[in-house]
Subunit: 411 residues, 2 copies
């Protein structure tokens, strides 16, 4: 059935839907569509129209996940696909929304061709956490990892998640009942823009995700001695910023020399922070990401040890404390292979890469095997009005999904 | 006459005067005595009492410099000594005030012993520039380098220097007429706490200043590319903070390997400055000080070149711009030697060291040969309520000055 529409046609159709969805936004640059808002309410009929155009039966669950279902043989398991409807503030048009559009277009392209399983395309309400200090409610509800305590968290305007859901016509207490039986779920496949520059740099439209990186964050506080920059000789200084600079470069060097490791000093503050004073204190962050938790943990430990060495050598004190840690989510090897084969079948290399960012897939992994297809984006830009994925790339992805589904073994 | 009082007595007397003067302060920790304020007005009778106790004739000039004069033979030149009455906000008791107390006590110790020159002890109104965005009016007036345009500068409360002076009973337009004839001035000798840790580390009470360091300051702006810390591989990053860290360490290394050079990165700001973003921009300062202008200028040029190399190697842009430059003030070799001989005569080593900070001497050098005697302070702390100079050290300095004066050749 994919023969009936060219890649250009499929890409153009995807771009039309992305454009229609992007118009449903708060005023201002880019797309701002937060969960349980007027914009969220307005996007649901559009997504319903999209899903129904592929013959899907559409309903919304108690977590405001819009679900478009294509039935399968009696007793057959269900393959879940999709992504999220929401955006960050002044974000892009592709992040999330594209992951709903593409599988629907692939199912439409497949038409009546029988599949040995059912398929559901999910549009989750809140992946970004841009309104409430929590996120991923939809997939967590399905996986049975939803914590009802988050219902009491409030947005910056003081509205609790519970109140926002009730205002949206939902029963918050029904979320706990959405848990799916893993036996009935074949797996989860999510399409997403890469949000990075790797595929573009490689000249590839599509990439298969190996894992969603684990993340750890550290707070580092250097205590030296503030001093007059004109009166304290170099040999008598205990310069907190020079010590911090040593660690900034050690963080970078560790990541450069370690396959798959990302490490970043993103924030750094200097006290007293004036031109004529030797810095007495520096506060900085270290963030480490890797698809392999052992690699990440080893880097965290090595950099903590390095900080101690730097402090000892410079006569300053350091307190490096891990403030956050989230393990990696490996993607299912069989689904990865199937996805890579589908990408190759439509002319790609089936290149593998890790995801540095968190996705709905991170939470879905608690329910079932997960896989992700990354699409090249322009200049690696995301969470920004300039976010862009070429129609040709999207058409390529629809073809790959349409090639994947008939070849996916029921499991 | 120094025989009549022991070093302990002289130090105790100095400490008593320092304590009396320190009580004349705005409320709050330490000493806050700004020019042309009630505190300034209140300190003048005390300083007058101090000067008159040594038989000096006291007057105040149009720049509010309090002048205590000991006459000399007819037609003899005048040796100027002293320092400043004002403090920074919440500063210490010794900075400035001690430089007025010690020469007066030395003259008192000398008693009627004849000198072949007149001596004036000066207490300048404003060295720190803590109230108005200008400083050194008193010595600049004497040297003929006073710029009347600064009279229109205002303090944070909107009061101009002109208005403040008028409120103090002064005629601002008379300041220009204070210029001294260099032929009548033998030189300027200033006692000051070191404000650094060198003498204390050397176990010396007194040191002779070789030069007041020249200073240059640079603004450095690094433009890299802000990026998601999870999605951009190390090889594709253009991290402004890593580039800045390279320069922080290069600045330190240059100073460590160059005799007499001080170089400091005191301020550094990171944008966007969040834990999960590769820094896109960093603004930092570089300050360089040296007693030798050629050494300082060479360091500035070398570090600018190094910044360009770092930028090129990292694919970021850098703009390093010199925002300030002030040449060094060499101290007079003959006065230095005389001061060192006097220090040795009272048991010190006559150690030489540069001054990293600016002093009244910096401006007096435009009028006459200058010299400075540094006194060891505790832990190198200054501009702070904890500033402290031991009575023993002050007594030592009074003895050195009393030993110096009779041996100073009239020139």
């Amino acid at each position: 059935m994919t023969d009936t529409l060219t890649r250009t046609d499929l890409g153009a159709e995807a771009a039309r839907w992305i454009e229609r969805l992007a118009r449903v936004s708060e005023p201002g640059p880019g797309v701002t569509r937060l969960p349980f808002t007027e914009e969220h309410r307005s996007v649901l009929p559009l997504l319903t129209e999209l899903m129904e155009s592929a013959g899907l039966g559409v309903r919304m669950d108690a977590a405001a996940t819009l679900i478009g279902r294509r039935g399968g043989p009696a007793g057959a398991p269900t393959l879940l696909m999709g992504s999220h409807q929401d955006s960050v503030r002044q974000g892009g048009a592709y992040d999330g929304a594209m992951g709903v559009v593409l599988p629907v277009l692939a199912l439409r392209a497949l038409g009546d061709a029988p599949l040995p399983f059912a398929v559901e395309v999910l549009a989750f309400a809140d992946e970004e956490g841009a309104r409430f200090p929590t996120a991923l409610m939809g997939p967590r509800a399905l996986a049975g990892t939803f914590d009802p305590a988050v219902l009491d968290l409030a947005d910056p305007g003081g509205v609790t998640l519970r109140a926002a859901m009730e205002g949206f016509g939902l029963d918050p207490d029904a979320v706990a009942g959405l848990r799916r039986d893993p036996a009935g779920v074949m797996g989860w496949i999510e399409c997403h823009i890469e949000q990075g520059p790797v595929l573009e740099a490689e000249g590839e439209a599509l990439g298969v995700v190996t894992a969603i990186c684990g993340i750890e964050r550290h707070s580092v506080i250097w205590d030296g001695e503030a001093a007059h920059a004109g009166t304290v000789p170099m040999a008598l200084r205990r310069d907190a910023l020079a010590a911090a600079a040593d660690l900034v470069l050690a963080v970078e060097a560790r990541a450069r020399e370690t396959e798959g490791l990302l490490a970043t000093v993103g924030a750094l503050k200097v006290l007293p922070g004036v031109v004529n004073a030797v810095p007495g204190q520096v506060e900085m962050t270290v963030e480490i990401r890797a698809p392999d938790d052992a690699v990440r943990e080893a880097a965290g430990a090595a950099l903590s040890a390095r900080a101690e060495q730097i402090a000892a050598a410079r006569g300053v004190r350091v307190a490096m404390r891990r403030t956050y840690a989230q393990p990696a989510t490996p993607c299912d090897p069989r689904l990865q292979d199937a996805l890579a084969a589908a990408v190759r079948a439509v002319g790609g290399r089936g290149m593998r890469l890790a995801s540095g960012a968190t996705h709905d897939s991170s939470a879905m992994a608690d329910l079932c095997p997960v896989a992700m297809l990354f699409l090249a984006c322009r200049d690696g830009i995301s969470h920004n009005p300039a976010e862009y994925c070429a129609p040709e790339v999207m058409g390529h992805a629809v073809e790959a999904l349409a090639a994947l589904l008939p070849n996916l073994e029921r499991s």
